[in-house]
């Protein structure tokens, strides 16, 4: 990172050779010129710079730990028994150990996004030069091109080269954070939590860096609400053509495949298909590519035998991809040094030799670390190998399924291995009688982990049986997804800033993250539809954005065909891949900056305070799996944005929960008067599990409440909260006395009923403050 302890600022310098104005130098590096906004208080924050802010949040939303293990086994003094208040040999107790694991997860996530950004930018600089301008949507008036980076680092990146400096900072911070998890370092759970927040913030910058770099260089849609629609689903693939599958998150090799095919006039003769976020970015690069589906579609697609060559880059790739590919005689190209799969590095070999080896089957795969060479080899292998492979598959026919099912002893080991406790033995038993419908039903809710198959002592190919039974469904799996649009326009922020902050748009709901859903992806689509119909702004990314797409209404339309892609009430906004999540944070930050005119540059606390108290945004990671998802959530926590996870999210082993029954926890300062005002539990939690989709929806509606809501806004938000609770729970909420501040907050159509409830609770009117958690904000500005 640019060090700032040696810092030279020149207002005006004239000499015989030159004339310079407004120049700032730091260790010889130009950190800014011509940016009127003065540097804020926390540029390039270190691990402890924002600790005080973290502790404010953590005193309101205290960690609740849910240990996954009774012991610690991270050093050779262990294993240490941490039950019943015991400390380990190093002195750490269970709370600190759990928070340490949370920090580790967030560090892994932040390192992964930042490592992704590093590889991506090195490639883009090599290809396009370090002076390539950053452009995320200049043509549509975007001036705040990197809100997260501006907020955290205090710089305004102009070129790809500027992003390298940001990466240096991120890498330093991740190293320091990871070091804090070493034996004999940090020992306090709240300090671990603060560091986890820091990792989340770093992760958010890393994601932004990656996405604005690829947006700028690769010609993606730039903040386009009408980004094109692309095809998604297994049924969209033309199996008569050679098929290439790309899996992962780092798009350059996939983009090079498209370029090679285009250059050779083969584009219409080969199908390019993708799984996970590389697929998102591939359709941003060229919407003629096809998405197969989320992370959980890997095995079912590979075993279908459709792909003739598989190219993996990084992240969320099954570790057994090579073994699975071998079963269907499909070669694998590993294109990232983070994931070499034990294959020989052929980067320097001539393409023709690699192609010959892969087509002949003399080698099962190759590491190729040059994206351009990957493009050529993958395309040529697909074309040459497809006729030989003839879509060789390992999915069983119905007759084979019935035969194999008859070997089942009903031991239930498959079900006990299944993360979702699916009724596999029952379905297999039915299949043994010739009825495969129950097996086919499991296809909708199976997360594709294959643990069932690993567990089977009789070597029944359970996952293949499920997929084979669902052949008809697979053929019908044809949907449309809107291509990831990237950033939110400044003008969109200006349009919705006031209604969001005042509460008249009831909230921004971000449906993000992986596909470990408790009951299949349809639930995510249902939730998206519920909130869009209620005129929330619904934002999506990653696997969740795909799951939303993979549903149809009675007219055969997917949600992205039904709802506009604009950041507006009732919009359904696919921002793109995992790293595009930064644009969701960026939108919240831009509301504070562009609408409310809060200084952005290196002004983290004030902006987070603004967002926390005024911007009714909530994230939902219904199927969160990874450490990246933990880091993404953590970035939002530090901004004060609540995150809800599905039931599997309980395995992150820590919640951040408010206590609505402790009134004093909900005091904020009134920035106008300096007095303390009780604003009730708004928002109630920073991180919480929802057990069912119904609970998630009610919880999110409530978590959109903010202390700053106007009466009209609070009325709209309460209308939705009450209506959803009545619809899904069948009862009135029991906490309205904590959420209604004035009679004018009460939804008009329910006034009589609610007034009675409030009277019974001894409710009294309270004031609506200009809310802040920061004493230094008192009396400093006119609220907006």
């Amino acid at each position: 990172m640019p060090k700032k302890d040696i810092h030279l600022k020149l207002e005006e310098l004239k000499s015989g050779l030159t004339e310079v104005k407004g120049l700032e130098l730091s260790i010889g590096k130009i950190i800014e010129e011509g940016w009127a906004e003065p540097m804020g208080p926390t540029p390039y924050p270190s691990v402890t710079t924002l600790r005080e802010w973290d502790m404010k949040l953590l005193s309101k939303y205290k960690p609740m730990y849910l240990p996954y293990c009774d012991s610690c086994c991270l050093c050779t003094m262990g294993k240490c028994d941490l039950t019943h208040g015991k400390r380990g040999a190093c002195g750490l107790d269970m709370a600190a150990q759990q928070s340490r694991i949370v920090l580790l997860a967030c560090c892994i996530g932040a390192a992964t996004h930042t490592g992704h950004a590093r590889h991506l930018i090195e490639h883009l600089i090599q290809k396009y030069g370090s002076t390539l301008p950053i452009d995320v949507g200049k043509s549509v008036g975007i001036e705040v091109e990197a809100p997260v980076t501006r907020l955290v680092c205090g710089i305004r990146p102009r070129t790809l080269g500027d992003l390298e400096d940001v990466l240096c900072y991120l890498e330093t911070q991740i190293t320091q954070l990871l070091a804090a998890t070493h034996t004999g370092q940090e020992g306090n759970e709240l300090d671990f939590e603060s560091k986890a927040f820091h990792a989340g913030m770093i992760d958010q910058v890393g994601m932004e860096v990656a996405d604005i770099a690829q947006l700028s260089a690769l010609g993606y849609p730039k903040a386009d609400p009408e980004a094109p629609l692309a095809e998604i689903g297994l049924g969209t693939v033309d199996v008569s053509k050679p098929v290439i599958l790309v899996i992962g998150h780092n798009v350059p090799p996939a983009a090079e495949i498209m370029d090679y095919l285009d250059k050779k006039g083969l584009y219409d003769k080969v199908e390019i298909t993708g799984i996970c976020c590389t697929a998102h970015d591939l359709i941003r690069y060229n919407p003629k590519a096809k998405i197969i589906g989320p992370i959980s579609w890997q095995l079912r697609y590979i075993r279908s035998g459709v792909p003739d060559v598989i190219v993996v880059d990084e992240q969320c790739i099954r570790a057994d991809v090579l073994a699975e590919a071998q079963k269907v005689k499909t070669p694998v190209i590993a294109s990232s040094e983070k994931n070499c799969l034990g294959l020989k590095n052929r980067t320097l070999d001539p393409a023709t030799e690699i192609v010959a080896d892969l087509v002949s089957g003399s080698t099962k795969g190759a590491v190729i670390l040059d994206p351009e060479k990957v493009g050529e080899v993958a395309a040529r292998v697909a074309v040459e190998l497809a006729p030989k492979r003839a879509k060789f598959k390992v999915l069983p026919s119905i007759a084979e399924i019935v035969k194999e099912a008859k070997r089942c002893t009903q031991c239930s080991d498959c079900r006990r291995a299944c993360p979702n406790d699916l009724q596999i033995p029952e379905a297999v038993s039915k299949a043994a009688t010739g009825n495969t419908n129950k097996l086919a039903d499991l296809y909708e809710v199976c997360i594709g982990c294959d643990r069932c198959e690993s567990a089977c002592k009789n070597h029944i190919r359970v996952h293949s049986l499920i997929t084979g039974a669902a052949e008809k469904k697979i053929k019908e799996e044809k949907y449309k997804i809107r291509v990831g649009r990237g950033a939110i326009q400044d003008i969109e922020i200006r349009n919705v800033g006031a209604p969001i902050v005042l509460g008249e748009i009831p909230g921004v709901i971000a449906l993000v993250g992986c596909a470990n859903y408790p009951n299949g992806g349809a639930e995510v689509a249902e939730m998206a539809a519920e909130f869009t119909r209620r005129r929330y702004i619904v934002v999506s990314s990653g696997c969740s954005a795909m799951s939303i797409a993979m549903q149809k209404n009675e007219e055969g339309k997917s949600p992205y065909e039904l709802y506009p892609g604009a950041f507006e009430a009732g919009g359904l906004v696919n921002v793109g891949s995992c790293v595009s999540n930064a644009h969701i944070a960026g939108a919240a930050i831009k509301i504070a900056n562009i609408f409310a005119k809060r200084p952005l540059r290196a002004n983290y606390e004030e902006i987070a305070d603004y967002i926390h108290n005024r911007v009714g945004a909530v994230g939902l990671a219904w199927g969160a799996i990874t450490q990246k998802a933990a880091a993404i959530a953590s970035g939002f926590w530090r901004l004060g944005v609540p995150v809800v996870v599905g039931p599997h999210g309980s395995k992150y082993r820590r919640m951040l929960l408010g206590r609505s029954d402790i009134k004093d926890d909900w005091n904020v300062y009134d920035a106008r008067t300096g007095g303390l005002v009780n604003v009730g539990p708004t928002p109630e939690h920073l991180f919480c599990v929802a057990e069912t989709k119904q609970e998630a929806m009610v919880m999110m509606a409530k978590l959109c409440l903010r202390p700053n809501d106007t009466s009209k806004g609070r009325m709209i938000k309460l209308t939705n909260y009450i209506d959803m609770q009545k619809k899904f729970y069948g009862v009135m909420p029991d906490d309205l006395h904590q959420l209604v501040r004035r009679e004018t907050d009460i939804p008009i159509t329910m006034k009589e009923e609610i007034v009675k409830i409030l009277e019974n609770k001894g409710w009294k009117e309270s004031t609506i403050p200009d809310p802040t958690l920061l004493p230094r904000m008192i009396g400093t500005r006119k609220s907006r």
């Binding site: 609740m64 039950t83 029954d661 919480c688 599990v689 929802a690 057990e691 069912t692 009862v731």
Partner: protein
Amino acid sequence: MIARAEPWQTAEVSGLTRALPVIKPEVVVAAIKKSKRPILIVGHEAASVDLEQGKPIDYIIQIAELTGAQIVATAHVIGEFTQRGFNRASWMPIMDISNRLRDPNWQGLDGQGRYDLVLLIGFQYYLEWVTLSGFKHFAPHLKTISLGRYHQPHANWSFPNVTPVDWERQLKSIVKQLKEK
């Protein structure tokens, strides 16, 4: 019948302290009778699982009526209680009620003092697993019983993994013995 006192999900290996298996329902009945302030936390599966003669929620209502125990319904299951004419259940997410129960100073939903026995039923296995682990580590003032069909090693007492038929038999037996008290 599967009746093993081991975790239902095979990789959820139990920890250093483990639940005592409830082989006879008398254990549950005795614990409830001994408790001064029992509380039942009921998840959504209590209303979605069909047993031969009812749903788990039907037995839970009977237990609550016989003992006066407080019920907290989680997720969307509160409506199932009111539909059955049981109107004194509270509701909140499992994380919220867990957070309150872990606080030794919390005086309960009615302000009459802290609870001493927590009975859980109706949750995804893994969600109950971590919830009980949280109680085990951070709520030493609580005893916990899992009334679910599958063995929960982090509880103080839990059924072994049992068949639906045996599960219903156990729940019925608890109700019957509470009636006889």
